[in-house]
């Protein structure tokens, strides 16, 4: 038996360190070739590191949340045969960088493949749950809800969630509710009353008391996935019967949860929950802080009449929707920005404050802020200037989907020159977008709403939309920013102009 050391593979170009996001194995676990050992995160992409060998985990090189240098020891495996520990040690002694990199080429290749496949963890969970032995392979990912989940962070939040003792359910509400209706109906509670079953329920179960149910009822509740402590017992001494289970299921757990909320509505609550800010969340936090600390933002808001733009969009969709796909407002806005940037190239730029150089780009690489399950991501629509409306729409849809499913590559997540952020119907009236450092401008879209507008002396209803745009005041003057936004406004209010070359 030898020791095989796997080093942190170099995943993207020029990245010196990556963050360990999740361990899929623990010391003592046996692993097979290609089995995923850990999730690591570079800049914005999460990559799975598979094992190049069969073996047994001896030691983990770091904790979840730790930032590790590329080439650092990630994990030690015990393997049949000699292993590579000696070779790795030797190369380290000689300090030979090339050898060092050779030590983990296999892991690197596999990591690359994994990144390409980008098998996201959540997709793995359901299939694992279907295997006959529950809680086994899935237990590695917190999504599986295994109490023994590997990562300490997951463990922590789990324990806390478990410790939280739910209130004693509908029972506890009786005190508050009883006042008006008198004791018997209060005892019937939300279940009897709502269902109109007329069954007199037993007295409520005092808080903290164990639910009372026969072994058969307990087993059936487990099989039905019902937590007995939420079920009101109508039997003698508050015994929960099969009938109670049926009724609970008919009403759905939501009714129970609602009753719980009602009963707990005015109860004092002293919970604290510590959520480790790791992985993507930490990246977002760092980026945001960086941007706000370095960039003197100013935000300019303008109102835009999009009645005609919307009319055109609807007609385009009517005529071409079936063949080319439906358009949202976003591709039209992208087009307007692309056209406006021709006159204001200083806004399509990245500012390197250390070198005191603002680089202007002829290409418009449009960052499109997208909300994903794990947090904010900004996939990049490359060469927006070279896309027509439908190509633009298709590319935006593809990127958003890739970001949401975690399949977006590093290239698709970097290199934007200006960013658009839109919350659609949630857009609100005004926002103060945070610039995607080192860019110098971000255009925020607020919601479209019909408002009374004075037009040619008459008050008419028009579809109005605000644009809230932030700029880096170090390199963009207020006047230019205002002119840029006014230019966009002109284009959007007279949409034919969008297509005049």
């Amino acid at each position: 038996m030898g020791v095989h050391i796997i080093k942190m593979p170099d995943i993207g170009e020029g990245i010196a360190e990556v963050e360990l996001v999740e361990w899929h194995v623990q010391p003592g676990d046996s692993v097979v070739e290609d089995q995923v050992l850990a999730d690591v995160m570079t800049d914005k992409a999460t990559v799975q590191v598979p094992s190049p060998v069969h073996g047994t985990v001896l030691e983990l090189g770091g904790k979840v949340g730790e930032v590790m240098a590329v080439g650092a020891e990630l994990i030690r495996l015990e393997v049949d045969g000699a292993g590579n520990a000696a070779a790795v040690r030797a190369s380290r002694r000689h300090g030979a960088a090339p050898e060092d990199q050779e030590a983990a080429p296999e892991a690197q290749r596999k990591a690359g493949e994994a990144a390409a496949r980008a098998a996201e963890p959540s997709a793995a969970a359901p299939s694992a749950a279907r295997t006959p032995v529950a809680g086994s392979p899935a237990a590695g990912s917190p999504a599986a809800g295994s109490p023994a989940a590997g990562s300490p962070a997951a463990d922590k939040s789990h324990t806390r969630a478990d410790e939280r003792e739910p209130r004693a359910g509908p029972a506890a509400s009786s005190g508050a509710d009883a006042g008006a209706s008198g004791a018997p109906s209060a005892a019937a509670g939300w279940q009897g009353g709502r269902q109109g079953s007329g069954v007199a329920a037993g007295p409520a179960r005092p808080q903290g008391e164990k639910p009372l149910a026969s072994p058969a009822v307990r087993k059936r509740a487990w099989d039905m996935g019902i937590e007995l402590r939420f079920v009101h017992g109508t039997g003698e001494a508050g015994r929960i019967t099969h009938y109670d289970l049926d009724r609970y299921q008919q009403q759905g757990a939501s009714a129970g949860a609602m009753a719980m909320r009602r009963s707990a509505a005015y109860a004092p609550s002293d919970e604290e929950q510590q959520i480790p800010i790791i992985g993507l969340r930490r990246r977002i936090a760092e980026k945001m802080q960086e941007s706000k600390r370095r960039i003197p933002h100013f935000t300019y808001v303008e109102e835009i009449d999009v009645t005609e733009l919307e009319a055109m969009r609807l007609r385009l969709n009517e005529r071409w929707g079936a063949e080319r796909g439906k358009l949202t407002l976003l591709p039209l806005l992208v087009r307007a920005i692309v056209v406006a940037l021709r006159e204001y190239p200083q806004i399509n730029a990245r500012y390197d404050e250390q070198a005191s150089v603002a680089t202007r780009y002829s290409a418009v690489h449009m960052g499109i802020a997208a909300q994903t399950q794990s947090g904010l991501m900004v996939p990049v629509l490359r060469h927006a200037e070279a896309h027509d409306l439908w190509a633009c729409a298709a590319e935006i849809a593809r990127l958003a989907e890739a970001a949401r499913s975690g399949r977006a590559s590093r290239d698709e997540l970097t290199g934007s020159t200006i960013t658009v952020t839109s919350l659609g119907a949630l857009g609100g009236i005004v926002s103060t977008p945070v610039i995607n450092h080192p860019e110098v401008a971000i255009v925020g879209v607020n919601r479209i709403v019909e408002r009374p507008v004075v037009l040619n002396g008459a008050i008419v209803a028009r579809k109005m939309m605000n644009l809230s745009s932030s700029f880096d005041h170090r390199v963009v003057d207020g006047m230019h920013a205002a002119q840029f936004v006014q230019c966009i406004r002109g284009l959007l209010e007279c949409p034919g102009m969008l297509f005049v070359e």
Binding site: Q26, V133, A134, G135, S136, A213, E236, A237, G238
Partner: protein, 466 residues
Amino acid sequence: MESTTLLILGGGPGGYVAALRAGQLGIPTVLVETANVGGTCLNIGCIPSKALIHAADEFHKLTRYTQGSPLGISAGSAAIDIHRTVAWMGGIVARLTGGVAGLLKKSGVSVIKGRAQILDGKTIEVEPPAGGSGKRQRISCEHLLLATGSEPVALPSLPFGGRVISSTEALSPAVLPGRLAVIGAGYIGLELGMAYRKLGAQVSVIEAQDRILPAYDADLAKPVAAALKALGMDLHLSCQVLGMNEAGDALRVSGADGKEREMAADQVLVAVGRRPRTSGYGLEGLMLDMDGPAVRIDDQCRTSMRQVWAIGDLTGEPMLAHRAMAQGVVVAEILAGKQRRYTPAAVPAVCFTDPEIAVAGLTPAQAQQAGLDCLSAEFPFAANGRALTMESAHGFVRVVARRDNHLIVGWQAVGQGVSELATAFSQSLEMGARLEDVAGTIHSHPTLGEAVQEAALRALGQSLHI
């Protein structure tokens, strides 16, 4: 390397039941056992001790009849051939362990005989039994279930060997000792001590505390203490055992008065308790969280290591076969994808002294400690017809129930044959029965079980026969 889904260490009641259930559910299962399947319970515990107790009872009855009896029965002289007794016990054990082995085979469980060594949470090495032909093998598994049971605790001043024996040796005596000293007046010491006394040995029981059966409440222990006296056993309470004398034929004991004296003994049975078997097979290497000497588990029998499970005596008190069996089923079903928990309302316990003790749930004192406002009632066997016909009017049945809703929270009984009442006790607790439920159930007449109903009636203030 052979690999399996579930690997079970230990073929005792916990391990073999888990294996049977897992096999039934189609989980590939390997069971590793050093000796015969059946564990302590079948081989050197519950079953042989009950066989010995039965033989002792029969013999004792006959010796009583040599002096005539109120029943009008008299007999000539009574004699026992302990070799044949032990052989008969062996037959029962062989039949049961053979039965378990057959069941395991039928369920498709692969049983490997040998000494297991845990290499890691997923890998076990099995060394074949000494003299065996097999070779060392490694088995890897997805889930490891630890069911290695417990072992008798030795006294530092009185290591096992020579005249000093544990319950294991006491259950297969080659000859009956003339004088037996039993250290520990817990259930194991008293069950065996009484059996040996009935077989004719002079038995002294030495206990460090000031009462027998410290684990049971004093009212329950009283009839047993009276029986010990009636049998002519010597009881030395509040006594410390210092060791054997230099000649090795007597026990040195310091009494309650602090004076040291010697007690001649042909054999010394040390029965001061059992402890989880946690060493000798590489368990330490897993560095599991412990609860004192026991492996810590949650209500799904998970240890602190993922996919390593533990059940039975290894996980601490109560060290009872039926608890291990219930836990074994829970683990097997969880592995089959079912949602299960080990959350019994009560684990019944029985002490096979004469009279027997059976308990389930809370005693009045425990209920009070738990903050419950409880009422309790006893029904004496002196008022039970069946008990009188069995010459066993000693003892009682007691029920403990909540005062507010009459939910039964505990049962205790002491008396001849009350072990069979434990079934009714735990059933009523698991079903969440109230006093009215038991009182309203017809209990057949004439049986000891009527005392159960009468206890419930009495708690309700409606007793008929007292």
